[in-house]
């Protein structure tokens, strides 16, 4: 059984069906990429999984337990961390305060700050600066580091490469890959940058207008000329 299972999930914004009958699964220690153009429903899919939006139908199961109807703050406590689009760092708080916030509900069981700083040495240098003063790449690292503070089992990442220089994107992708392979996290990676996402993912799902139009091993998706031309843009 996969750690995170999404079954027939449908989410509507009023008359607009943003996510339409999506089924996918993420195994422990693996990365599943969700690809597609703007407006394909990728962000809504993540927001529904983490409880920020209520679906019209379908199921989300973490380790076999239903998450639909569970409140956002309790879904976090089940071990699911969502790193939102635009990074979601709280600009008015310092780097260290942002990090501490991520582990507060865990109390003494939270990851030590020094472990996160070892993973992101840049953040250690910026620990007392306001998050507002960080660069795009640093904010992304802070956002991921903050999610890791609570020892999640599943990580939802929304466009981690958005607005980053290619070299920084490569660093972030390498880190995500390490988190899955070495720490055993199940990662659901939403990306417009299909090429870099497929380079680290085991499996990929392509969304268009809320529906799954392709689902396969990452290598097979990357090799599909028709799919690349129609949806992936590389």
């Amino acid at each position: 059984m996969a750690l995170l299972e999404i079954e027939d999930l449908t989410t509507d914004y009023g008359p607009v069906r943003a996510v339409d009958d999506v089924t996918l699964a993420v195994e422990q220690g693996s990365i599943t990429a969700v690809l597609g153009a703007n407006g394909a429903g990728k962000t809504t899919l993540l927001r529904t999984i983490s409880g920020l939006e209520q679906p019209s139908a379908g199921h989300v199961r973490l380790d076999g337990q239903e998450l639909i109807g569970v409140r956002v703050e309790d879904i976090v406590r089940r071990g699911l961390a969502h790193v939102p689009e635009g990074r979601g760092v709280i600009a008015e708080l310092s780097t260290e305060e942002n990090l501490r916030l991520g582990g507060l509900w865990r109390g003494a069981d939270a990851v030590a700050l020094s472990d996160i700083y070892d993973l992101f040495p840049l953040l250690r240098e910026r620990r007392s600066q306001l998050a507002a003063s960080l660069s795009g790449g640093e904010r992304q690292m802070l956002s991921i580091g903050r999610a890791l503070m609570a020892r999640p089992r599943v990580l939802l990442l929304d466009e981690p490469s958005l607005g980053l220089a290619p070299i920084v994107t490569a660093q972030i992708m390498k880190l995500i890959s390490t988190l899955a392979s070495e720490r055993g996290l199940a990662v659901l990676l939403v990306e417009q940058n299909a090429r870099s996402a497929l380079s680290i993912a085991e499996r990929g799902v392509v969304l268009n207008l809320g529906r799954v139009v392709a689902e396969d091993a990452a290598g097979a998706l990357a090799a599909d000329e028709g799919l690349r031309a129609a949806y992936l843009g590389f």
């Binding site: 920020l52 703050e73 976090v76 709280i90 600009a91 708080l93 305060e97 916030l101 507060l104």
Partner: protein
């Protein structure tokens, strides 16, 4: 010179009261990003309750304690029942609801306790200290007021800066959705913020009541002065609110002493406008952005 010293001492003690009101406003602002224009009416209710308890039991400190507890409960109820519905909406909605609450509470108070202001006892003697045979305009009760302001500012700063609950409250105020995604129970934090602010507000009511008496509309100017003090301090800083309150108290005391007391409210508004024009972030502002 004696007159100047007297006016200065008087400014410090009245400024300390504005500072407590400012602290309550800053607390709600930091915890929920709302300016609570009903703060004056809320502290009026708790001060009336204190007045009733004191006159029936004869114990000042029992009334004092009851007022603080009532403030805590009133703040939580106001947030749960009223403000919860407008949180996250346009800021003006919250302002209108707060103004509605102000009118409602003043009307209710008038119905229960009548519209004639009644006297209220001070915590300690209001007779000025005797220094070298001269009575100065500063009493043990003023000392108590100033100490309360310093204490409240220090405690609030310590809670917000140094504790986990303070961090959660700030996160919930700045980015409620992100805070929830990190496991913060945002609703509870907002309720707590209102409860604490109303507690501080009721403290302000108890401190100011001996001077202005207790009546449904007696506390309106205090809210204006408290708001001015909070803006002086930048709305975001507890220390700023405390210092802003004292500065305002001094300024108004000099205006009242040298120019006449009828100009006091006007002077407060002039100070408010000048500060907003020259330093909209307040004298102690740490951030550039201002949403109100």
């Amino acid at each position: 010179m004696t007159r100047f010293i007297d006016l200065t001492l008087n400014g410090i003690s009245t400024g300390a009261i504005y500072a407590v009101v400012a602290l309550a406003l800053v607390l709600i602002w930091r915890a929920t990003r709302i300016v609570n224009f009903a703060q004056g009416a809320m502290l009026m209710i708790t001060t009336f309750i204190a007045s009733s308890v004191i006159s029936s039991s004869g114990s000042y400190w029992l009334g004092f304690g009851v007022a603080l507890v009532c403030g805590l409960v009133l703040g939580a109820v106001v947030e749960r029942v009223l403000m919860r519905r407008v949180e996250g909406g346009p800021p003006l909605n919250a302002v209108i609801v707060a103004l509605g609450l102000l009118i409602l509470l003043e009307a209710i108070a008038g119905m229960i306790w009548g519209n004639t202001p009644r006297s209220f006892p001070p915590a300690f003697s209001i007779q000025g200290y005797d220094i070298g045979g001269t009575r100065v305009l500063f009493s043990p009760n003023d000392t108590f007021t100033v100490l309360v302001v310093i204490g409240v500012a220090l405690v609030l700063t310590a809670v917000f800066r140094g504790t986990a609950i303070g961090l959660k409250m700030r996160a919930a105020a700045f980015r409620p959705e992100v805070a929830r995604m990190l496991g913060v129970r945002v609703g509870r934090m907002l309720t707590l913020g209102w409860a604490l602010a109303a507690l501080v507000g009721s403290l302000a009511g108890l401190l100011v009541a001996p001077e202005i008496f207790v009546g449904p509309n007696q506390f309106d100017p205090i809210l204006v002065f408290g708001f001015t003090a909070a803006v002086l301090g930048g709305l975001d800083s507890f220390a700023g609110a405390a210092v802003g309150g004292i500065l305002l108290g001094l300024a108004l005391s000099y205006v009242s002493g040298y120019e006449g007391s009828s100009l006091v409210t006007l002077a407060a508004l002039v100070i408010l406008i000048v500060v907003l024009m020259i330093r909209p972030g307040g004298l102690f502002s740490s951030t550039q952005e201002r949403r109100v």
